[in-house]
């Protein structure tokens, strides 16, 4: 099953490689991994999307907790949560018809056009992974030049929070 694990860790050089090394050394899956400092610059927050049996997920959380730099973590998928991913897509936009179609599509998905040339659009959209996937499918007739996805960031709903 797919799990989203949020980790607060000391914002120190090398912490990211410890996490990445742990996943590769023990053969755990990483679907995506995002990390950036929090409002407290001494802490980074990492969101890891992984999958595995309950036993594997339990080991992953235990092994992560064992890393000296990890302060705290939660499995967001244990409760209600919100997840978002940012995607940037550059597409070929030639001729009025095509340009209109892309504009309509991005409106439907509540995205934005953030860069324009006479032959291309760069689109920005956020959402959960399904929405982002669905948008790429909707672009089936459009020629995609490149796609950049940030990977999932997640947060618990309501009072559920990961903080120290």
């Amino acid at each position: 099953m797919r799990h989203i694990i949020s980790v607060l860790l000391e914002n120190e050089s090398g912490a990211l490689s410890r996490v990445a090394g742990l996943f590769s050394a023990r053969g755990y899956n990483i679907e995506s991994l995002t990390v950036a400092p929090t409002d407290d610059p001494s802490l980074s927050r990492m969101t890891i999307v992984t999958s595995g049996t309950d036993q594997i997920i339990e080991q992953i959380t235990k092994q992560l907790n064992k890393l000296i730099e990890v302060v705290k973590l939660i499995d967001l998928t244990d409760g209600q949560h919100i997840e978002r991913e940012l995607m940037l897509v550059k597409v070929v936009a030639d001729g009025n018809d095509q340009r209109e179609e892309i504009k309509r599509l991005i409106d439907i998905f509540r995205g934005r056009i953030i860069d324009v040339t006479d032959s291309s659009y760069t689109l920005e959209m956020t959402g959960n992974s399904e929405k982002v996937d669905a948008f790429i499918e909707a672009l089936a007739h459009i020629e995609i030049i490149e796609v950049v996805r940030s990977g999932i960031s997640g947060i618990g709903r309501g009072k559920r929070a990961l903080k120290i």
Binding site: G14, E58, Q63, N65, K66, I68, V71, I164
Partner: protein, 576 residues
């Protein structure tokens, strides 16, 4: 007062009360070596290869409980320590390894003798640091020692660029460390402890299964008290040997691939298993799918990730073995009448039958020297009181089977990583930490050559180790597997062109002895162990066809042990 980074490093070691540091100098470490030269509180032991330094520090730690310290230079100095660091890591041995690094401005430049130390050692350390500011050296060292010995212990690497060791800073060694991200839990959760007691007392076919955590956590005393109180069958892993007195009638010997028949059978047949500081290693469990099919398991471990890792546990208790056992004892004492004695007595009857097989027994010979006999003789000569370091292979198993260790920290071997070459340097560390004790290194002709250069270190520091080489002219364990599972195709397991070990020992300045007749074994070993102030290398020519029995082959369960030839048939007859 302002000190240089090098002086700060050495001052930290002094303030930490370090007696010995095992090391080898080199370019990037020269400032630190200069600081060592100017003092005499911390004694530096110059090894002949950095791997030897790590194993020596490791042996020192395992035998004394005090954290061992290593100092090496950058580049190859570091890469040579990796085997020793991984050895310590796999057996959770506290160790601090100070590695010099090229000057800060050269890091990442592929400089002379540069390696990414933090990167190379990351998977085999508990933690590592690259110090970036001379002002951080003292706090980093304090953290390193704290991390190494607290919680689940392990090696910690501190990488110090050369320029920092020349820069100056105020010296202040912190008294305490507080890390928000590292708070090991030592006390067992009261509710879980109670649940553990409940389940243990319900047992009809109990087994107490203890591991290296009991040795590391100094929990032998409360463990012995509990075993005597409950009178439950108890076994130990290879790493936990000595935690329970072998003369204790409740002790079934050690378990696993080459452990006793009775301990493995009892593990298989138990209904309640109490695991204490043991991690269900594959050499212990055999095939997991066949492991203890009816067991309800209670497990104490200081490392939550060791609980439920490969075997489901009904009552997990995170905590320090000694502390949790001390919590449990009064609860158990108050409720011993709940034990189902008739059921446990029946269980004992069954176990005693298994025990009567004497699975460690072997055939003595007048013609060839049996390796088991060598170990038994050493045990007799030393009254079972020596520290024994072993290398890895058949001799390791025979040493564990036939030397009777009646207390923890006397049996020193590389259980997790299985590092050949560990024995001799480990014995050096043991001898330094226990200068008045007898230290034997039981080794084999293949293992000993892997770190034989340390004989030179032994001479320099006058370490009177007794090296007993069970010389069967083979990598015995490899040969055994090839005999059993590869149709006797002995691919590259024959040690052709072995040196004359007597001459080797003599050329290093030691006493060399050859024993090749069973009749000379006892007198020869007696003579060797009588030379109290000399290192004696005893080369014993042993039976090269001997195999280690009993054995659980790959893919087999605890109840599918191979016994020694003749015993299996005998057992079948008895069952019939």
């Amino acid at each position: 007062m302002e000190l240089t980074g090098a002086d700060i490093l050495v001052k930290c070691l002094q303030d930490e009360g370090i007696e010995y540091i095992f090391g080898y100098p080199g370019g990037a470490a020269l400032h630190i070596y200069d600081a060592l030269y100017k003092q005499d509180e911390v004694r530096h032991i110059l090894v002949r290869h950095e791997q030897g330094a790590t194993h020596a520090a490791d042996g020192y730690t395992r035998s004394t409980g005090k954290t061992g310290v290593v100092l090496v230079t950058s580049g190859p100095g570091v890469t040579n320590t990796v085997t020793g660091i991984a050895t310590a890591f796999m057996d959770s041995i506290p160790m601090v390894v100070i590695t010099a690094q090229v000057p800060s401005h050269l890091i990442g430049d592929d400089a002379f003798q540069e390696v990414d130390t933090v990167g190379i050692t990351r998977p085999c350390v508990k933690h590592n640091f690259l110090v970036k500011d001379v002002n951080d050296i003292a706090t980093t060292m304090k953290k390193a020692f704290y991390l190494a010995h607290s919680g689940r212990p392990g090696p910690v690497v501190v990488d110090v660029p050369k320029d920092l060791t020349a820069q100056k800073a105020e010296y202040h060694y912190p008294e305490n460390v507080d890390m928000r991200s590292y708070q090991p839990q030592t006390r067992g959760h009261a509710k879980q402890v109670e649940r553990g007691v409940d389940l243990l007392l319900q047992a009809k076919r109990p087994i107490i299964y203890t591991g290296g955590g009991v040795v590391l956590g100094e929990a032998s005393e409360p463990l012995r008290e509990m075993v005597d109180l409950l009178k439950f069958p108890s076994t130990s892993t290879l790493m936990g040997i000595g935690s329970i007195d072998p003369d204790n009638p409740n002790y079934l010997g050690w378990l696993g691939m080459h452990g006793t028949y009775e301990s493995n059978m009892a593990m298989h047949g138990c209904d309640v298993m109490f695991a204490i500081g043991a991690r269900f290693d594959d050499r212990v469990t055999g095939e997991l799918a066949k492991f203890a099919p009816n067991a309800r398991i209670i497990q104490i471990d200081i490392d939550p990730s060791s609980i439920g890792k490969n075997v489901a546990v009904e009552v997990p208790i995170v905590g320090d073995c000694k502390e949790v056992l001390t919590q449990m004892l009064p609860l158990l004492k108050a409720r011993t009448d709940e034990i189902d004695r008739p059921a446990v007595d029946d269980w004992w009857k069954q176990i005693d039958e298994w025990r009567s097989l004497k699975s460690f027994s072997y055939e003595k010979s007048d013609v060839v020297i049996k390796p088991q006999h060598v170990v038994e003789t050493i045990c007799n000569i030393t009254n079972g009181e020596a520290f024994v370091a072993s290398d890895v292979g058949q001799h390791q198993m025979w040493a564990a089977q036939h030397y009777q260790f009646d207390r923890p920290r006397r049996w020193v071997n590389s259980g997790g990583l299985g590092t050949m070459g560990f024995g001799l340097p480990a014995a050096m560390g043991i001898q330094l930490g226990n200068p008045d004790s007898v230290v034997a290194c039981i080794t084999g002709d293949a293992s000993i050559i892997m770190c034989i250069q340390e004989l030179s270190t032994c001479l320099q520091y006058g370490l009177p180790i007794k090296v007993v080489n069970l010389n069967n002219r083979y990598m015995g364990m490899v040969r055994q597997w090839q005999e059993f599972f590869y149709d006797r195709r002995y691919s590259h397991s024959y040690m052709d062109a072995l040196p004359d070990f007597v001459k080797v020992a003599e050329s290093f300045g030691h006493v060399g002895m050859l024993i090749d007749k069973p009749q000379d074994l006892e007198s020869g070993l007696q003579e060797a162990f009588a030379m109290k102030d000399r290192l004696v290398f005893v080369d014993v020519m042993t039976d090269h066809t001997e195999n280690v029995y009993p054995m659980i082959a790959a893919g087999k369960g605890h109840n599918e042990m191979h016994l020694k030839p003749g015993q299996e048939e005998q057992q079948e007859r008895e069952l019939a």
